[in-house]
Structure formats: structure tokens, C-alpha cells
């Protein structure tokens, strides 16, 4: 066994961990900001709005994330117009492409999760809010949003964990997150087992932390849903 190689590479793993964390949190943040209004719009909007949003989520949930990433990172380069536009410095950066793919993909899943949470909100609670003369804005902020988020917390937690695992795909476009670091070690030292086990352990620790955080959030905000 070659654990001393792993120990010597602790710094690399640490920076990989930082990148994995950064990718996960940034993707979660932006996809959340995108998914919340999309879910509200899908739930309350007309047929056209619903169809457009469903089309988007179908597209991104119906195809592999890796394909989406390759299309954004490699595929877009084929378009002359894009290459010459002001967007190109961003679109040619692997970091931006990875974030774009993760955000769009995760927002698609999150939108459906949140919309399902809204669909489970009892009709009467909405009617009561209207009957007391609350404005649409107050109803959204104080009734729909909290009810939606608490009701979809368990499913959203799953999505967050899966997104965190999916960030390992970033290594395919040269980013050195945990998986990228491990893969580089296997190529440089011709050892296959130790680098990946270490990577797996790091993911496991991240997962457990994330799950702990989600359980805490569930106890804090979604306690009312627990049956006695």
C-alpha cells in the first residue's frame, strides 16, 4: 500500500475539497434562486407558462448531466457567433461552464420538487389567506414559500446530496476538485486504489455533514409535518 503518497498529497486533496465545496454551494445557491420563482410560476401560472417550464425541466432531467456539460463546454465552441461575442471569455472558462451546467440541471430538479411541495399545500390554507385580505405578495412570502420549502425539504435534501456527488464530473473538463485530484494521482503514481478510496472518504464526510445540516433544518422548520 502507498498511503505515504496520499499523505504527501494532503494539500492537493484540501484544495480539491475546497473546489468541490465551492462548486456545490455555488450551484445550490444559484439553482435555488432560479428554482423558487420557476416553481411558483409553474404552480400559479397559465398553460403557456406551465408548458415552457415543464419543457425546460423535461430537457434537463431527461438527459445526462455529463452530456449537458459537454454540450456547454465543447459544443458551444462550434458557434462562430458565440466565439466572437462578449460572452466568450466566460463561456470558454471550464469553471463557468461547469457551474452553468450544474445550476441549470439542479434547478430543473429543484423546480419540480418545489412545485410538488406547493401542490401538497392544502387548498384551504390558500383560501384562508385570500379570505383575510392578504395581498398576493404577502401570501407568497408568508404562506406559499414557507409551506413549499418545508414540505419539499426531504426531497430537496436528496437533490443537494446528488448534486454534490455530481460535481465530480467537473474533473472531465480539467477542474481539479476531489475526483480530479484523485485521478491525477493515479496517473502520476500508477496506483489506483488509495487515491479513489481517499476521494470516496472525503465525499462521505461531505455527505454526512450535508445530511446532518438537512436534518437540523427539518427539525427546525418542518417539525409540524412529523406525525405524532
Amino acid at each position: 500500500m502507498n498511503w505515504d503518497i496520499i499523505l504527501d498529497s494532503a494539500g492537493l486533496y484540501l484544495s480539491g475539497l475546497r473546489l468541490t465545496l465551492g462548486l456545490t454551494l455555488a450551484s445550490l445557491l444559484f439553482s435555488f434562486l432560479l428554482a423558487v420563482p420557476l416553481a411558483l410560476a409553474k404552480w400559479s401560472g397559465g398553460a403557456v407558462t406551465r408548458a415552457i417550464i415543464s419543457g425546460y425541466t423535461l430537457l434537463f432531467r431527461g438527459t445526462p448531466l455529463l452530456i449537458q456539460l459537454f454540450l456547454i463546454y465543447f459544443g458551444l465552441a462550434q458557434f462562430e457567433l458565440l466565439r466572437e461575442s462578449w460572452l466568450w471569455p466566460w463561456l470558454s472558462s471550464p469553471l463557468v461552464c461547469v457551474l452553468l451546467a450544474f445550476v441549470l440541471n439542479s434547478a430543473a430538479y429543484s423546480t419540480e420538487i418545489f412545485a410538488a411541495g406547493l401542490a401538497h399545500l392544502p387548498r384551504g390554507e390558500i383560501e384562508a389567506a385570500r379570505a383575510f385580505g392578504m395581498s398576493a405578495w404577502v401570501r407568497t412570502r408568508r404562506i406559499y414559500l414557507p409551506a413549499m420549502l418545508t414540505r419539499s425539504l426531504p426531497l430537496y435534501g436528496n437533490e443537494a446530496v446528488m448534486l454534490m456527488h455530481a460535481t465530480s464530473l467537473a474533473s472531465t473538463v480539467t477542474l481539479m476538485e476531489i475526483t480530479g485530484v484523485a485521478r491525477n494521482l493515479t496517473l502520476n503514481y500508477y496506483i489506483q486504489f488509495e487515491p479513489y478510496v481517499t476521494a470516496g472518504l472525503l465525499y462521505l464526510i461531505l455527505t454526512l455533514s450535508l445530511v446532518g445540516l438537512l436534518h437540523w433544518a427539518e427539525r427546525r422548520w418542518a417539525g409540524y409535518l412529523v406525525q405524532r
Binding site: A128, A131, F132, S135, R142, Y224, R228
Partner: protein
Amino acid sequence: MAKLEVEGLCKRYGDHLVIDDVSFHAEEGEVISLIGASGSGKSTLLRCINFLERPFRGDIRLDGERLLTCSERPGGELVAVDARQLRRFRARLAMVFQSFCLWTHMSVLDNLVLPQRHVLGRDEEAARAQALAQLAKVGLEAGIARRYPERLSGGQQQRVAIARALCLAPEVLLFDEPTSALDPQRVGEVLEVMRALANERRTMLLVTHEMSFARQVSDRVLFLHRGRIEEQGAPEAVFGDPRSPRLRRLLGLG
């Protein structure tokens, strides 16, 4: 001037005329019960008054002020012209639902505070004080304020719902079968609260199947049949000597 006036109200679902030219008014302090067979349009009538359902014709007046409405196309459903006015009307007409309709994701206290904060614009402290006062009024201890609604019994939940309505100091209370979803042994505690409100001379509109209760507390009873007021009058007359054969059948008088 009447507190609440309903004039020429008509509502349909598709081709089905559910409320057919209903007019009545409630004086300040009057308790009016709406009775009728299932499907006769009692709930729909009540829900048209605060525009939870949109009628296609008719006027609602509170203290003589007309709710401004228009229809987007001829014969279509009415919509409120001024969203602000509609919200103000709704706050003046607080509703108590059959299935309580408390907001399950917040504590009882938050249920009572939220509408006061955002509809009346009260500050947090005044809203809390009012909430606790109304909880006491419906016979609930202050300890309940911190709990989630679904942790309470049905009777307690409905009393919280009544307290929530009272917190807005509404001018008219609308009740839609407030005891129908309750276990039989819980009905009494809610009726007690409502009796106390009636004795305070609150203006109340009450849809109910509790005939003996309606008889005791009402000033006037309206009998609805197929969306029309078929009979109305003082409770002694309506319950004691009903003329409509359908009302006689509903009351089990043959």
C-alpha cells in the same frame, strides 16, 4: 343603513346556476342563519360575499359602500375593480371555514399575528397582545399559542380559527358549517363560543346544519333551495311553522 347588503347575486358553474338572484341584508348586530339541503348553494353564497367565488351579477355593500366590480366580457364573472378595496372588504368580513384552514406551518400565535401584521398593519407587540386576548376569549389557554395547529384537537383548532378571525375586529363574521368537521363531543365547545359572539350582538352569517342551535341564536333564518331563498323569517316561524314543503322535509316534519 344595513351593515351588509347582498343584492341580486347570481353565480354559475358552467351552465349550472348555483346562486339564482339572491338578495338579503343583515343589520348591525343581526345573526342570520343559512340552512338548506346539501348542494343548495349555501357555501357558494357565503363565498361569493367575500369574492372567494366570483358571481356574474350582483352587488355587495358594507355600510352602504359598494364593492366595485366589472366583468371582463358580457355575462362573464365579475372581478373587483380595485384590489385594495377588495382586500379591505375581505378583512372586514372575516371567515371561519368548515375545515379550520389554519396555516399548518406556523404556530398558533403566528396564525393569529400574521393577518393583523399584514392586513391591518399592526405592530408585532400589539398583534401578540390581541392574539392572546382573543385566545382567552375563545376559552383557550395561552400555552396553546406556541403549538402547531395540527397538534390540537378539532374543537381547539376551530376555536383558534375563530380567534384568528376576531383578531381582525371584523364587522361581519362568516361561518361555513364550523362544526361539521368536528367529533360530536367537540361540537359543544365551538357552539358555546359562537353563542357568546351572538350574545355580544356581533353581525354574523352562519351556514349550519345544527338546527337547534340556529333556532336559539338566530334573529333571522334563510332557507336556500336550488340557489334561491325559498323561505325566510324569524326562527320561531321558520322552524315552528314552515310553509315550504321542502323545508318541512329538511326539518323532518314530513
